[in-house]
Amino acid sequence: MLLIACPFCGPRAELEFRWGGDAHVARPPAACDDAELARYLFQRRNGEGLSLERWVHAFGCRQWFNLARDTATHEIAAVYRMGEAPPPALAERLS
């Protein structure tokens, strides 16, 4: 059971949240080709280690936000708001 620090409400139990897939996935323009569309729809980073994800505090303030989480240890390295870039310190951990 993760303990997730909602950027608005502070630390809350995993039970209140929902995982929403990779963060920073750009929605392709309507004119994109099938391969690009497939990448957008299905391709995920799915790395072992640091992963940038988006979550929603579904049973709390209903806000979406970004989370940097280690998929091997479940350690949470950072929480940042929707629309923000990941903290620079994390960049090097993103192999």
Binding site: L37, V56, W64
Partner: protein
């Protein structure tokens, strides 16, 4: 004979005798006893039968590590299988039976397995039962396997759950845990101290130590009481920490004195493990004979439970700890021999032992045990190879200690081997988990390196699963050299004790057979729960109706009063229909549907989702969310729309009302209300944060009754409204505000039935008033309550789509006749996917109606086949008997169906095949209201 109780000493309450039964025989014990201590005091040595070989077994431990004494406890309305007699608290009337034996413990037919042991070595079942096939042999094997018997009838409510939070969790209430808890509490942290035993103190309860001049148990009791009294802190006895999870989450299982079990989901800032260490059995031939016991357990039975275990005892050890047992046995009058495998003994007061009458043998091993079903003597062998027999009823054994570090490993900790004490301990502390006391290896006695003692007869490693040294040898010989393979091949450590007393020995012996160090062999992964927990504890009170939320409409009481058959539709309890007394549900559905066609029906639409979307960009937002254009909607008008996923699949449908230039009301399906509100927020927040728009779900703020039928206008009028209901003033697919039945109301003229329908929304608190006013409308025909089933049938007659029924997770707009949306200029959610090759290919399933040529009923789910009767051309998605048309009606998804009008197909199914024809949707085509306005 052995057995019996000392007149004084121990922590039993001699003033409170307790009657109980074991295997149908009545016994007496005392408050403070466990079932095991009481049985031992009564001289009962045979406590169980082993899993595979059905060998007779006795109690070897005094706590959770017990592998042998597994019993079923029978309580009124319950049967609790596989409890450890060493953990069952004695209570009046307790009825326990042994497991895995028939007809009785003493005479067990299954013991024949023991005689065949050499033909059924580890993994024998993989090598035989190939002919004719496994399923022939399986029932016999299954009956022989299993330990206890589960209850046959439902188990009563005896499970609880709670969440809790603390700064420091201390696991284990022995000396080390109590000290750690006191320290944390002094630093004014919120502390939870949990101890699986009935009392705090750990070894202090029986090892005779005094602390600060006070008897250990007294000190422990006060210490625990102080924690319990500290603000925000708690001391929980009978509570096992069963698993360490992420971010400080720990599960605890609390056994309440009345037999209930409470699961705690705890979040701890920090965890201190003071879980002690578990003594190991030595591996030597005959080490499983009842009467063989761990040395610490023997001491505990004598000192804590005042049980006289034996008149003659042998203590066999490879470390100093068991010397205390020898001393204590001798002091209580047992003729005691101490057999130490080591050459010299270091730190112990040998003179004292000799003085107490203990015979001391060094460099000596126990190499055999004698007796029938219980121990009568042992053979020892000295360094010179000389053997000698010693009569005894108790053999107390210590082969060293294994720190209890399951939770440490689960929390991510690594272990390192320490040779002096022959034990694994934490290699390095974790940031939020510390380990103290013997769990950290502190105070563990120097211990001889693990070794197995050869001799004649089976030397067991895992007692419950009957894994002996030769099984490990065989596994190694067959290449099962990974510790994980050994475990799975021999079942070593897979019993109900999860290898607490055997895992280390298994590792050591596998290492010996494969020429590897014990560290190189490694250990298997300790998983939760550290000690077994009843499944019910995971449900807590959440069983039966409380298992999962169920929503109720503001008209719930009304429906009940009307005799509705209530069912779960999309998480809402809704009326399926309203059968009159003596009327079948099917007949009620037909009657209700006809009432709408011929008069007027009232339908509770309250559960349908309602979401307000406001702001200058509301139109743009809604245009992107829906597959059809919405911003072109005029104020006061309504439009039906489809919502898609990014895969282009229909996820919901409903009617959108435009209330003002910058104000829309989105209608969703009942099941979709929550999901779609979340969906809109996700797009608003994540993808289009720049749009000036707000989203507000308001479903349950409104009570909604839909009035439908040729007489709908009349009924609504008579309920009292200031809204002009004329077609000109209030056309189909529009919305008006006003008053109905004296309530502020929003009325939408939209239709799911094909008849004139008014969806009347009033504040939730007015729902009943509204219903009563409509139901009490004057004039004929009388309004009839209509349930969900008739409602669905009415729309089926009209051929309207029902999302989730006529569509599935693959259906696109084109499949249901909305292909034109793909040509919209605006980019909406799911649009791009509509032109993926697979969505353009021929052969997709498309929604059509069916006409039954033979007049036979068409059942939902039935498949359609071509003339060859093979392969599926499609399937029926909705079907029913139309009371209006007096014939069956159905919708179906048919391959390329829209282009196959008039074609005949066969309905496959059980029974005779029926012939059907593909037709346009809308079997009931009286020119009334179309939904798609």
């Amino acid at each position: 004979m052995n057995g019996g109780r000392f007149d004084a000493g121990g922590r039993i309450d001699r003033a409170r005798p307790i009657g109980f039964s074991f295997e149908g025989r009545a016994y007496r014990g005392f408050a403070g006893d466990t079932l095991a201590s009481a049985l031992l005091a009564n001289g009962v040595r045979l406590a169980g039968r082993s899993f595979k070989l059905h060998r007779p077994r006795g109690v070897i431990a005094a706590g959770v590590e017990e592998p042998n004494a597994i019993v079923d406890v029978i309580a009124p309305g319950d049967r609790r299988p596989n409890l450890r007699a060493t953990e069952v608290e004695l209570c009046d009337g307790l009825a326990a039976v042994p497991t895995n034996c028939w007809p009785s413990l003493a005479f067990d037919a299954g013991a024949i397995n023991g005689l065949m042991a050499r033909f059924i070595p580890a993994g024998f079942y993989y090598k035989t039962f190939l002919w004719p096939r496994w399923r022939v042999f399986e029932p016999f094997i299954r009956r022989a396997a299993g330990l206890g018997r589960a209850a046959r009838t439902p188990v009563g409510t005896r499970f609880e759950h709670r969440f809790a939070h603390c700064d420091v969790l201390v696991v284990g209430g022995g000396r080390a845990g109590l000290a750690a808890a006191a320290e944390a509490a002094a630093a004014s942290a919120r502390v939870i101290l949990c101890e699986q035993d009935t009392e705090f103190g750990g070894q202090l309860l029986w090892n005779g130590q005094t602390i600060e001049g006070r008897p250990g148990p007294d000190w422990a009791g006060d210490q625990a009481a102080a924690i319990a009294g500290a603000p925000g802190s708690a001391a929980l006895a009978r509570t096992t920490a069963i698993g360490a999870y992420d971010h400080g989450a720990v599960a605890l299982a609390e056994r309440l004195a009345d037999g209930r079990v409470r699961l705690w989901t705890l979040r701890a800032g920090r965890m201190v493990l003071a879980t002690g260490a578990t003594e190991r059995l030595a591996v030597f031939p005959g080490n499983d004979r009842p009467g063989v016991m761990l040395a610490g357990a023997a001491l505990q039975y004598q000192e804590r439970f005042a049980v006289r275990l034996a008149r003659r005892a042998v203590v066999f050890t490879n470390n100093d700890a068991a010397y205390a047992t020898a001393m204590a046995l001798a002091c209580r009058g047992a003729k005691t021999t101490l057999v130490d495998a080591r050459p010299v003994t270091a730190s112990v007061d040998v003179a004292g032992l000799v003085e107490a009458g203990v015979e001391m043998l060094n460099r000596t091993d126990v190499v055999a045990t004698h007796g029938g079903q219980t121990l009568a003597g042992v053979t020892v062998r000295g360094a010179d190879g000389g053997e000698r027999s010693i009569d005894c009823e108790l053999l107390a054994v210590s082969a060293g200690f294994t720190p209890n570090l399951q939770l440490f490993t689960q929390a991510g900790g690594r272990l390192a081997y320490e040779g002096d004490t022959a034990s694994f301990r934490p290699a390095a502390p974790l940031e939020t988990v510390s380990v103290v006391g013997s769990a950290a290896g502190h105070g563990l006695p120097p211990t001889q390196a693990p070794r197995r003692i050869a001799g004649r007869g089976k030397a067991f490693v895992d007692l419950q699963n009957d894994v002996a040294v030769d099984d490990i040898a065989l596994a190694a010989q067959e290449g099962m050299v990974s510790i994980e393979h050994l475990k799975r091949y021999t079942a070593l450590g897979m019993g109900t004790d999860q290898g607490r007393t055997s895992g280390f020995n298994g590792q050591a012996i596998l290492g010996e057979f494969t020429g590897r160090s014990i560290e190189a062999v490694g250990a298997t992964r300790p998983r939760p729960p550290v000690s077994p927990v009843p499944l019910g504890a995971f449900a807590g009170r959440g069983r039966g109706p409380l298992f999962h939320p169920l929503r109720r409409s503001p008209l719930q009481a009304m429906h009940q009063g009307l005799g509705a058959a209530l069912e779960d539709y999309g998480g809402w309890l809704r009326p399926a229909c309203y059968p009159a007394p003596g009327e079948s549900e099917a007949a009620a559905v037909q009657r209700e549907a006809l009432a709408v066609r011929g008069g007027v029906g009232l339908f509770d639409s309250s559960p349908l989702g309602k979401i307000e979307v406001v702001g200058p960009d509301a139109g743009r937002f809604i245009d992107r969310i829906y597959a059809n254009a919405m911003s072109s909607l005029a104020i006061g008008r309504a439009r039906y729309g489809l919502m898609l996923s990014e895969l282009g699949v229909i996820v919901d449908d409903g009617v959108v009302l435009r209330l003002a230039e910058d104000h829309f009301l989105v209608g969703t399906t009942t099941g979709g209300a929550e999901r779609i509100a979340g969906w809109l927020e996700e797009w608003r927040q994540c993808e289009w944060p720049g749009l000036r728009v707000l989203v507000a779900p308001v479903t349950t703020a409104w009570g909604v009754v839909t009035v439908s039928g040729p007489a709908a206008r009349q009924a609504l009028q008579s309920a009292g409204t200031d809204i002009d209901l004329s077609d000109e003033a209030f056309p189909h697919m529009s919305v008006r505000a006003g008053r109905v039945a004296g309530l502020p109301a929003r009325v939408a003229r939209v239709s799911f039935t094909g008849e004139v329908s008014y969806e009347v929304n009033v504040p939730t608190t007015g729902a009943e008033t509204l219903w009563n006013a409509l139901a009490g409308a004057t004039g004929e025909p009388r309004p009839v309550p209509v349930g969900v089933e008739a409602w669905l049938l009415l729309r089926l007659e009209k051929g309207f789509l029902h999302v989730g029924m006529d569509t599935d997770g693959t259906t696109t707009p084109a499949d249901v006749g909305f292909g034109h949306v793909a040509r919209r200029k605006v980019d909406f959610v799911g649009k791009r996917s509509l032109t993926r090759p697979d969505n353009l290919r021929p052969g997709r399933h498309q929604l059509v109606a069916l006409e039954a040529l033979s007049g036979a009923a068409m059942a939902v789910g039935a498949h359609l086949t071509g003339s060859d009767g093979r392969g599926s051309e499609g399937f029926v998605t909705s079907a029913g008997w139309s009371p209006t048309l007096a014939r069956p009606v159905a919708l179906a998804m048919v391959k390329d169906g829209l282009g196959r009008m008039g074609e005949r197909l066969s309905l496959a199914g059980e029974g005779r095949a029926a012939s059907v024809r593909i037709v346009e949707r809308g079997a009931y085509d009286r020119p009334v209201e179309a939904r798609n306005g």
